[in-house]
Subunit: 427 residues, 2 copies
């Protein structure tokens, strides 16, 4: 793999701020230039600098996969796939092909050499073409495996205990057709067309080995994963996840985010877990409640996002303060109290969710909500107790409904020449 | 209405490039500042200048509605609603409320005075809050009425003949649940959260008078409506609509886009018609065809987008040229030949469609395609013959399927103090 050219191209792209499929084609001729896009230098999970929006390239390889502590991009296309084969060699061949394509696309190149227009015109193009001319737009592609991956490929001895199915929580209305999956790919970008293009080309390559189980688009990030980012608003109009794990919290990341040696099977060291939950928000009901009720439910002010009783968003919540009426200033069942590390014995997660609107529900309402994505070191010890506390007590549950659920093991990042899942498949 | 303050705020916003709900709140206190957001100066349909992306404000009032020849923004939320009442006075009250809210939101303000946080906290906020802090992002809100609007309100004498249902075309697989509608609102913006916020707040205000019939998100524009814009790519990877009507073609706009005096009932003079068709693209089948086949189907090259036999995108297609084999260089059934004004007796339309991905289809495929939106002077004389020619002969039909259909009458733009639909309701 001609990694030096790839790295040079990627660095050039970042430096001159104009790295795009079109410029690349124009600059050097597609065949020569694209064949060289291979490896980019640097650590995949370091927060990006500040190149022109849309032009940034997030390094694909590194200690951890990109797309986790990478500053959350604004658009998401998430896809869960099922294996349609039990042939391990066939799956390995696909994962190698996927890895090469993912590395190319995150660098702003086409999915495969040849691309949309420069191969034998009597054959189908190797890239579908809808991202021609678009820059990398901070694209990250994050890969994970579900329980079915181990079962179908005879890898059950390598299946981490923490990958067990999540229990049913109070109020769950889970649709099996949009839950679980043998594999997942999270595509995040500042340009939705770039994210969709990446997923579509990977799905295409999987034909005969994988098929789409479910997929979800998200149009607006709901979390900050870096202290450099402002906290965005969910569709209830609130800043949520102010106290999210951040890329800068090294100690907390080790403790709460990254799988450590000894946690489970060795192939997963340095990895993480992804929990995905599609949360339908009953926005029409919410919109009919008073501001006081809304702020009581979250435990924050709606405007500034400050904990009730404090003035600024990042002020520390005082859970022991009482109001003039002698009752807790922050309600006993307020979302920020129940979800806080202090209430959960120190448990934290890294949220990376997105707002969605999936048309309407056939009953006169918009089908809207939050596609919750969170990364953590152990879902059984972190997500399960947190969600149990929320499902049983959080007043917010009156206004939301969890309609899908999935958990995936996320392998560590890739070193030079390695492919997605290699540590597991060669364990 | 304190139009001068509104205009000043809007102009200021454009001039300083930082007009946002948050700045507005900070600058002058929400109550005072927002109450004044009323009218912005200028013509609603003139192509915008070049303020910082996301900060631009498109004037709401003018000779024609904004969102038609306005340079196509990148994101769409389109909603069709049905009336749940036959009470004309109630509908007028809603349209007045909608107009005030639409004007505010397109100027970057909240949906109503008071907004998300500054009204009596014991009552529900007048704005849902998820766009707090976000700029106007070139938001346009374009309003239309369907046939049911006339029928339910006893206005059949004012119903234009051109608003008749579209015929069934060859291959149509129309889902009635996501077709038609008594009203429509097209929200376009450079920020999807801004578009979604606008639709959601208008839908909310409609409760008791309207209900959502269907809605559609689009993530990437597929058309240029100004010569200043590059032609984007659809999900087949092609530039389509190169010869779209453009804002700069004054004579063609009069001839093909705007309803002229004498065309139909006088209330509609200066208006237009909107045809919406959800076109599912069978991307997996398309992706298996050769580049030659793909280019033959469109009649353009995939890379540059030039007509076959020419070299640049905007070169005029030579439909009479023959290749070395003596056959037409541009196939007899090529999309650009069949859809060209030359083949259709001079007919043109203004396309303003968006790419979409609505998750997966339950059969292992992405549910993706083009949400076709087009504006024209008379759908019966323009869209019907064009679509008939395409449906019967276009090779592209092998790869696509029309799954929804709607046509709306779009009233002309609003003068000072006027409300959406006033010319019809007071006709």
């Amino acid at each position: 793999m001609t990694s030096s050219l790839g790295a040079r191209l990627a660095r050039q792209g970042r430096a001159i701020g104009t790295f795009s499929r079109r410029r690349l084609l124009g600059a050097a001729g597609a065949g020569a230039a694209l064949a060289g896009v291979g490896v980019v230098a640097g650590c995949a999970d370091s927060p990006a600098g500040s190149p022109a929006p849309g032009e940034a390239i997030v390094p694909f390889r590194g200690e951890h996969q990109a797309g986790i502590v990478t500053p959350a991009q604004d658009r998401l296309h998430f896809v869960a796939l099922d294996l349609t084969t039990t042939d391990k060699a066939q799956v390995i061949a696909l994962l190698q092909k996927w890895t090469a394509a993912a590395e190319r696309m995150t660098a702003g190149a086409e999915a495969a050499p040849g691309g949309a227009v420069n191969r034998n015109p009597e054959t189908p193009p190797t890239d579908t073409g809808e991202a021609l001319g678009l820059p990398a737009a901070s694209l990250t592609l994050t890969f994970g495996v579900g329980a079915g991956f181990f079962d179908k490929l005879g890898l059950t001895a390598q299946k981490p205990a923490a990958l067990a199915d999540l229990p049913r929580f109070t109020g769950d209305q889970i649709d099996p057709a949009s839950s679980r999956g043998d594999l997942c790919i999270q595509a995040c970008s500042d340009d939705p067309q770039v994210a969709v293009h990446a997923v579509r080309n990977l799905v295409r390559m999987g034909f005969g080995t994988t098929e789409v189980r479910w997929s979800q688009l998200g149009f607006g990030r709901t979390s900050s994963t870096s202290t450099a980012q402002a906290t965005p608003r969910n569709l209830f109009g609130f800043k949520d996840g102010t106290n999210n794990l951040k890329a800068e919290d090294d100690a907390a990341l080790r403790d709460q985010l990254w799988v450590q040696a000894g946690d489970g099977p060795a192939w997963h060291d340095g990895g993480s877990y992804l929990v995905a939950r599609r949360i339908r928000m009953h926005i029409e009901i919410w919109d009919r409640t008073s501001l006081v009720e809304q702020e009581t439910v979250f435990g924050r002010t709606k405007g500034e996002g400050a904990p009730i009783g404090r003035t600024a968003e990042f002020d520390v919540a005082d859970f022991s303060a009482t109001g003039a009426d002698g009752k807790p200033a922050i309600d006993e069942n307020a979302h920020i109290r129940l979800a806080s590390a202090r209430s959960l014995g120190g448990v934290q997660i890294l949220r990376r969710g997105y707002n969605f609107v999936d048309g309407s529900d056939g009953q006169g309402h918009l089908n809207a909500g939050l596609f919750f994505i969170a990364y953590m070191r152990d879902p059984q010890k972190q997500f399960v107790p947190m969600q149990r506390a929320l499902a049983n007590n959080d007043t917010l549950m009156e206004y939301i409904e969890h309609t899908s659920s999935a958990v995936f093991a996320i392998p560590a990042g890739l070193g030079e020449g390695r492919y997605w899942g290699q540590s597991l498949l060669e364990a």
